[in-house]
Each structure stands twice: as structure tokens, then as C-alpha cells.
């Protein structure tokens, strides 16, 4: 009798475990939560790089480093203090791998050069 009970408890526990594992797999891998209202830090690498390229294109026209730094804050998790040069360096590395045109790589380089003249401890105004 005791054996039957202990078997039942064991099977009950096993069923719970099975259901738990199946549900976790379903919820994490098969059908993870839909991403809505995401933050820019979650953007895919190519979109991040393209955003930096947009900033570089805008900088090419207005040469406003402060604006560029403010716009790059968009990609930062910690918008109070960040180093915008990191984003440009990442974008350049991605651009080289992804085959960006020479003109685009030059734009990124020009922006990187402009950022290097700034104090690294610069705290930009977060955007938007």
C-alpha cells in the first residue's frame, strides 16, 4: 500500500516536472513573448549600425558634434553617461564586415574623429 502511494507521489511529481519543462520550452523557445515597445538597446546589430550611419550622414551636413552625441544616446542603455565613440566604432566594425561602401565608412570615420576630440566623460542629453 505504501509502495502504491509513494509511486503515485513520484508519478505526480514527474507529471508536474514534465508539464513545467514543456511549458518553459514553449514559453521561451517555441513562442516567446512578443516584443513590443522595445528599447533601442535591443535593436539588431545591423539596425544599430545603420542608425549610427544616419547620425554620421547628418553630422556630415551640419558638423554639430553635440547633436551627434545626443542622437547616439538613443542607442545607450544608460542614457545619463555613455561613450558615443563605442557605438561608432561598433558600427564601423560592422560596416567593414557587411561591406558598407567606402563613402559610408568614411562618414563613420569622420564622425569618430570628431567624437575623439570630446571629453570621454561627457554626459549627453538623452534623446528623445
Amino acid at each position: 500500500m505504501n509502495l502504491i502511494f509513494s509511486n503515485r507521489y513520484a508519478l505526480f511529481g514527474l507529471a508536474i516536472l514534465l508539464g513545467f519543462v514543456a511549458a518553459v520550452y514553449y514559453g521561451w523557445a517555441a513562442r516567446p513573448v512578443t516584443v513590443r515597445d522595445a528599447e533601442p538597446t535591443l535593436l539588431r546589430e545591423d539596425f544599430r549600425a545603420d542608425y549610427v550611419l544616419m547620425v554620421a550622414e547628418a553630422y556630415e551636413a551640419d558638423h554639430q558634434v553635440e547633436r551627434a552625441i545626443g542622437a547616439l544616446g538613443f542607442l545607450s542603455q544608460d542614457q545619463e553617461s555613455y561613450n558615443p565613440l563605442v557605438f561608432v566604432s561598433d558600427a564601423m566594425a560592422f560596416g567593414v564586415d557587411a561591406g558598407y561602401s567606402v563613402a559610408d565608412l568614411e562618414r563613420l570615420q569622420i564622425l569618430a574623429a570628431a567624437l575623439k576630440t570630446f571629453d570621454p566623460g561627457f554626459a549627453a542629453t538623452p534623446t528623445p
Binding site: I16, G19, V55, A71, P128
Partner: protein, 257 residues
């Protein structure tokens, strides 16, 4: 009388499974959802989308590259990108500190609107049957060698209705004038090649094949590898009620005995 114990379904197993499932889903969807990385701009929260839209506009204002700006704006998957840009431009216009942004947003909205209008006009110009251009449209002509295994028996431009696209309708018959299925046809244009086969529309005829011609494109037709006709082009015609429409080219081929 001794009653045999009834076989009861193992409800405790189902209960356990349900409890496990519930706990697992609460963990996976609420308490500790999977961290998703690598999202597209379309998944961004609205204020971030606005910043993305603004940067695309400023980059366009600087570079003038409309194709690139259009591709970037398309990533946001706005139902009406021009309206989204215009609305954002109006908001920026209300603030004296963001006049430059407003101009950039409005500039891109205007350029995109112009592009969409041009595209629609071009598509309409290309796809609308124009009877005045009929003298510029070629009539299909035979281009087959003497040794070709098929011969053009008849050709006709049929004007059905204004809703009919410019069809090319081909009927192939064997040497005994029976419809012939499985004949391989190739339609070539400068841009594309289409492979057809008779017999795919048995409701019409086993020897029938059809193709919708793209207006302003000139095609040549080969049957079983032999070039048969050239200058095949969508042609406009007039319906019985006098309305302009696309005609359907009807080509009949007979196998040489």
C-alpha cells in the same frame, strides 16, 4: 457478490501536468520572459520610433538619398509613412527649438509623397490600354525556320472586355488537328523568360496555354525549342461598346506532318 475495483483514470497525473504547465508558463511569460535581442525598428516604442524617423529624415536632408530614406522608413512599418512623417513634422513645427527637425521631416514626407505619386502615375500609364499608341505596338510575326516542327495556322487579336488583362492564348494541334498537351513553350523578353506548357487548362483545351503579357514588353515565342514568333506585345483594342481595353492575342499552331 464481490465488486471488482473500478479502473479510474489517473487524474492525479493530469492534475500534475496541468500544475506543471501553469507554473512553467507563468515563469516563461511573466516572471522571467526570454530576453529578446535583435529586434527591428518596427518593434520600438513609439517615442523611439519618432527618434528613428527623425534621424532618417535628417540623414535624407543631408544626403538626398531617397531610396535609402525610404528603406529606413519602411523598417518602421507605419501603415501610412507619409502621414506619420507629416504628423511628426507638425508637432516639431509647433516648437521653435525643433524647426530644423520639422523641415527635415516635412522634406522627407514630401519626397516620399512625390515618389508614390510618380510610381502610381507610371504604373497607370504603363497599364492603361492606350489606343493612340497602337501604331507603336508590333504585331506578332513568324520567325520560325522552315524546319520548325510547328507552323502558325492563325493569329487574331480578340477584344473581350475592359477588365481582361493582355493575354497571350496559344492553341497547339498535332498533325491530325488534335489538341496536343505537354508541348513546351518558352516566352522570352529582354528581362525575363517564362516556361509554359500546354495541357494545364484542360477546361479550355488539352492543347491550350496562356500567359499574361506585361504591357510595353516585347516577347518571342519558342515551341519545343524552335523559335516560332517574335514581336509579341500587349495590344490595346476597342470593345464593342467603344471602350479601350487590352486585347488577347490568339495564336494557333499546327504540327508539321
Amino acid at each position: 457478490m464481490i465488486k471488482e475495483p473500478q479502473q479510474r483514470p489517473p487524474l492525479y497525473l493530469l492534475t500534475g501536468l496541468a500544475v506543471g504547465l501553469l507554473a512553467g508558463l507563468i515563469l516563461a511569460w511573466i516572471l522571467w520572459p526570454a530576453r529578446v535581442i535583435g529586434v527591428s525598428p518596427a518593434s520600438l516604442d513609439e517615442p523611439y520610433k519618432e527618434q528613428y524617423r527623425l534621424m532618417a529624415s535628417l540623414a535624407f536632408a543631408a544626403s538626398g538619398d531617397l531610396g535609402r530614406a525610404q528603406a529606413r522608413i519602411a523598417l518602421l512599418q507605419d501603415s501610412d509613412p507619409v502621414r506619420a512623417l507629416t504628423t511628426q513634422a507638425q508637432v516639431a513645427l509647433a516648437n521653435s527649438a525643433t524647426q530644423r527637425e520639422a523641415r527635415a521631416l516635412a522634406g522627407l514626407a514630401s519626397a516620399l509623397q512625390g515618389f508614390v505619386t510618380d510610381q502610381a502615375a507610371t504604373a497607370q500609364a504603363i497599364n492603361t490600354p492606350d489606343l493612340t499608341r497602337q501604331d507603336q505596338v508590333s504585331t506578332p510575326f513568324e520567325s520560325g525556320a522552315e524546319s520548325a516542327s510547328y507552323k502558325l495556322q492563325d493569329q487574331e487579336l480578340v477584344c473581350d472586355s475592359v477588365d481582361t488583362p493582355p493575354y497571350l492564348k496559344i492553341f497547339v494541334f498535332d498533325a491530325n488537328a488534335n489538341p496536343q498537351a505537354g508541348v513546351q513553350l518558352v516566352l522570352k523578353s529582354e528581362e525575363d523568360t517564362a516556361d509554359l506548357s500546354t495541357g494545364l487548362h484542360p477546361e479550355m483545351s488539352p492543347g491550350y496555354a496562356e500567359f499574361i503579357l506585361t504591357p510595353r514588353v516585347v516577347y518571342s515565342l519558342s515551341i519545343n525549342g524552335d523559335e516560332m514568333m517574335g514581336g509579341i506585345q500587349a495590344a490595346a483594342c476597342e470593345t464593342e461598346s467603344g471602350e479601350p481595353a487590352w486585347g488577347s492575342w490568339l495564336l494557333l499552331f499546327n504540327a508539321e506532318p
